[in-house]
């Protein structure tokens, strides 16, 4: 097989920690090459080397058989390499078009005038938006978009560069099934144009669907690299984790207690319309819907980050006519945010400080922080969640999946009683997903209640006692476990009525 791209014996160390050890990686023209492995295996690092963000300690990169030097993202871009990063890297106050064309705006003639041809930029962006089936105005500021839509802006940004290698680092982590279908259609089109796609994901079903080739890495070494027809999912899982996987959704039967949260007729600025639901101690409620359906807004309103709302909110029977984040926290309500945004972590602070930030009183006396107690607390959680780093490691240096676990750790530390968990397992490897579910189980058995805001329907069906489906700011129905299938949920989520 002739390889369009070849990475040879790539080695990369971060302060004495060998992250990539003589990795060989090849990808053919017009192929989708899946790159998989556990959290922290080195997938993102390998691809960041290709995209010019990191320099390898040793090793070569060849494109069409000739050696290339990639020292900066700009050089990578010139070689036709585009990368969609695991985390969203848009400028929140700029609009969609400005983000898509940043640093490569189309120019008006004569070019030396350096006048940006905004008309063309908006027109082209509109074309891409239409092509992706997104009903969005290209002038809309990015910070008004939902997570999935922001991801699509990133994808458009990469695709519009006419690159011949596109790296996608967990693009579907925050996408709904419908959006994933759109993405896959686009990937199909790109393939026909001869674009090579390197696709990182923890969702193995997807890989089976679109990939031609698979490379599995573990602990910075390639374990397996072959064509997709030669492997089966269980084989991959085994290669990834080095062990077999038991039950994927370890749902427990928990005795439900009294009502902890009740929402009645909640409306908010046209974005939420007359929503009512309640949740009992020990219960897991799933909330799902397409992006833009208001799931996230609902959570933000209930936790006090947006408002004021109309309607009533009862926490443990107490009525709240309005709420602030501080009040929410005092009453045990918390929002476990997803990764890939700036909301979750203080990325240049150590794990320890990120974990205790939600409840510093627990590790301090008279306002003075006791650093040893703090370190102990962080170490406990690191062990419990199997985060692969020490407590004084800067969060920025962690892999995406480990960052996600740190977010979990900080809210476990806060002893929250009602947890709204956004995309609990997005970006988490298959083996650790079960660990996260077990933590959720532990939470509910110890008397907490959990609201899972998730796009992963099999997770929703597998783990939740009840599911609320949202569409366009409305609750389209609340269903008990076993009453609905994934197809039904999809039907309601896309606007269907019962």
């Amino acid at each position: 097989m002739n390889n369009f791209l070849e990475m040879r014996k790539i080695t990369k160390q971060f302060n004495d920690n060998v992250v990539l050890d003589q990795v060989d990686f090849c990808a053919g023209k017009g192929q989708v090459h899946a790159l998989i492995g556990e959290n922290g295996a080195g997938k993102s690092t390998l691809m960041k080397i290709l995209a010019g963000l990191h320099m390898p300690d040793s090793g070569d990169i060849l494109i069409e058989g000739s050696k290339v030097a990639i020292n900066s993202p700009k050089q990578a871009q010139e070689l036709g390499i585009a990368m969609i990063y695991q985390e969203i890297r848009l400028f929140p106050d700029l609009n969609i078009t400005e983000n898509v064309y940043i640093r490569r705006e189309p120019m008006k003639n004569p070019r030396w005038c350096k006048l940006i041809d905004w008309e063309k930029a908006y027109e082209d962006t509109q074309k891409y938006l239409d092509y992706f089936g997104l009903k969005l105005n290209p002038r809309r500021p990015v910070n008004t978009l939902g997570m999935g839509q922001q991801k699509f802006v990133e994808i458009i940004k990469a695709v519009s560069q006419n690159a011949n290698i596109i790296i996608m680092d967990e693009p579907t982590a925050a996408l709904t099934d419908h959006e994933i279908d759109i993405l896959f259609k686009v990937i199909g089109d790109l393939k026909k144009l001869g674009v090579t796609i390197i696709y990182i994901s923890h969702r193995l079903e997807e890989i089976k669907r679109i990939a031609d080739q698979v490379t599995v890495i573990r602990d910075g070494k390639v374990i397996q690299s072959c064509s997709i027809d030669e492997v089966d999912i269980n084989g991959i899982i085994k290669a990834m984790a080095g062990k077999e996987l038991e039950d994927r959704y370890p749902k427990l039967k928990v005795k439900l207690g009294k009502e902890q949260l009740r929402v009645e007729g909640l409306s908010y600025g046209g974005k939420l319309k007359d929503i009512s639901f309640s949740i009992k101690k020990g219960e897991i409620l799933g909330i799902t819907g397409l992006s833009g359906s208001g799931r996230r807004t609902l959570t933000k309103v209930l936790c006090g980050f947006e408002g004021p709302y109309e309607g009533s909110l009862y926490i443990n029977g107490k009525l709240f006519k309005s709420i602030t984040p501080h009040m929410a926290k005092l009453n045990g309500l918390c929002f476990v945010t997803g990764i890939g945004t700036s909301e979750g972590l203080i990325t240049n602070a150590p794990i320890q400080e990120n974990v205790t930030i939600t409840n510093m009183e627990r590790v301090s006396k008279l306002g003075f922080i006791e650093r040893t107690t703090e370190a102990e607390a962080a170490k406990d959680l690191i062990e419990r969640l199997e985060i692969m780093a020490s407590e004084n490691e800067i969060v920025n240096n962690l892999s995406g999946g480990n960052q996600k676990k740190v977010i979990f750790a900080k809210w476990l530390f806060a002893n929250a009683k009602i947890l709204f968990i956004e995309e609990p397992t997005a970006g988490i490897d298959i083996g650790s997903k079960v660990d996260i579910y077990n933590i959720i189980n532990e939470l509910v058995t110890s008397g907490a209640s959990v609201v899972m805001i998730s796009s992963d329907l099999s997770e929703i069906v597998g783990m939740c006692d009840r599911v609320m489906v949202m569409y366009n700011g409305e609750a389209r129905g609340i269903f008990n476990k076993g009453e609905v299938s994934q197809e039904d949920i999809l039907y309601y989520a896309s606007g269907g009525r019962g």
Partner: protein
């Protein structure tokens, strides 16, 4: 298999310990003292050096809370006006018959109130940045001071009040002792308490801080209020030293204070820096000014030197980065 991947615990690294900005400042401080000694044979007299601190420590009180403000990635340029307003109100109320002790308390209250107002405006009107808000209050506070005193001097304080700016306790200037106490308190507050931790968190990432349940508005208001209070403390010492006050006192202090903070390695983008850095730079600039004064070097020359130091301070993180890259190139080639 998993253990292997755990990032090695960071050991105490001697090289990175000494390659901190604070040590550069210490080095610079020593260099300046050596130069000063060469320039003037009278320089290294301990008694004179201690006295010298009395001339520049008044504004140092504002440096302490300003470190907090700048770590929050904000700025407060109204501090000098706050000094003027609280000094003027104190002088006027004393001359209207209010007992001096009470006048001092009034002074502290006025400063605190000014700071509180700044904080309140900044958190209530999110569209306005701290620069804009404090620029406006800078003009307003100074304006009020002028209305109250109409470009006159006011003074004739009781004799004991002079002690603040001129007194000694056991041979050490009183102002130095008070400053040391405040420095320790602010140092503990910033580096050891939950409050300080929250300030750093907010400076690094305000969104994440908010989503972690930190009461960001409350902390901002407290920091600005503290700044107002410490500006009033400066007013007390400054007025005592000068013996009287005018509406135009302390003009330009805000720039001096901010310069000291930035030179101290506290990044204006927020979230970084230590209080010690700012404290060293207070003495660095102070002694530099004193030494050059002994040699009758014009004040303008000093401004140029401080300006150059500031550019150097802002540049140093980038310099460090280049060193590293350069090292790598050397190795691979």
């Amino acid at each position: 298999m998993k253990e292997k991947n755990i990032i090695a615990k960071k050991e105490f690294n001697l090289k990175s310990f000494f390659f901190q900005w604070e040590w550069m400042l210490v080095l610079l401080f020593v260099v300046i003292n050596i130069i000063n000694t060469f320039l003037s044979p009278y320089y290294l007299d301990p008694k004179k050096l201690l006295d010298a601190t009395m001339t520049f420590l008044d504004k140092a009180f504002i440096v302490l809370p300003m470190v907090f403000v700048i770590i929050l990635a904000d700025i407060d340029i109204s501090v000098a006006s706050t000094v003027a307003l609280s000094a003027v109100v104190m002088a006027v109320s004393y001359n209207l018959g209010v007992p001096m002790a009470l006048a001092i308390i009034i002074c502290l209250l006025v400063g605190t109130l000014c700071g509180f107002l700044n904080g309140l405006l900044i958190v209530k009107f999110k569209e306005l940045s701290a620069v804009i808000v404090t620029l406006s209050t800078m003009i307003i506070y100074r304006g009020i001071a002028y209305i109250i005193l109409e470009d006159q001097a006011s003074g004739k304080f009781p004799a004991w009040y002079k002690f603040l700016g001129w007194g000694y306790v056991g041979g050490i200037p009183f102002i130095l002792i008070v400053f040391a106490v405040f420095a320790v308190v602010f140092g503990l507050l910033l580096h050891k308490t939950t409050f300080g931790r929250r300030v750093y968190a907010m400076g690094n990432n305000i969104t994440a801080s908010r989503f972690s349940g930190i009461q960001v508005d409350k902390i901002k208001v407290i920091v600005f209020t503290l700044t107002g209070f410490m500006s009033a403390v400066t007013a007390l010492f400054l007025t005592s030293r000068m013996g009287s006050t005018r509406p135009n006192v302390a003009s330009g202090y805000e720039l001096d204070v901010i310069a000291m903070v930035v030179l101290g390695g506290i990044s204006s983008t927020g979230g970084k820096g230590k209080l010690t850095g700012a404290i060293i730079s207070i003495f660095l600039i102070g002694f530099l000014r004193y030494g050059l004064g002994l040699k009758n070097v014009p004040a303008q020359a000093l401004l140029i030197i401080i300006g150059l130091l500031l550019i150097f301070a802002v540049m140093i993180p980038n310099l460090k980065f280049n060193f590293k890259k350069w090292g790598k190139v050397q190795k691979t080639s």
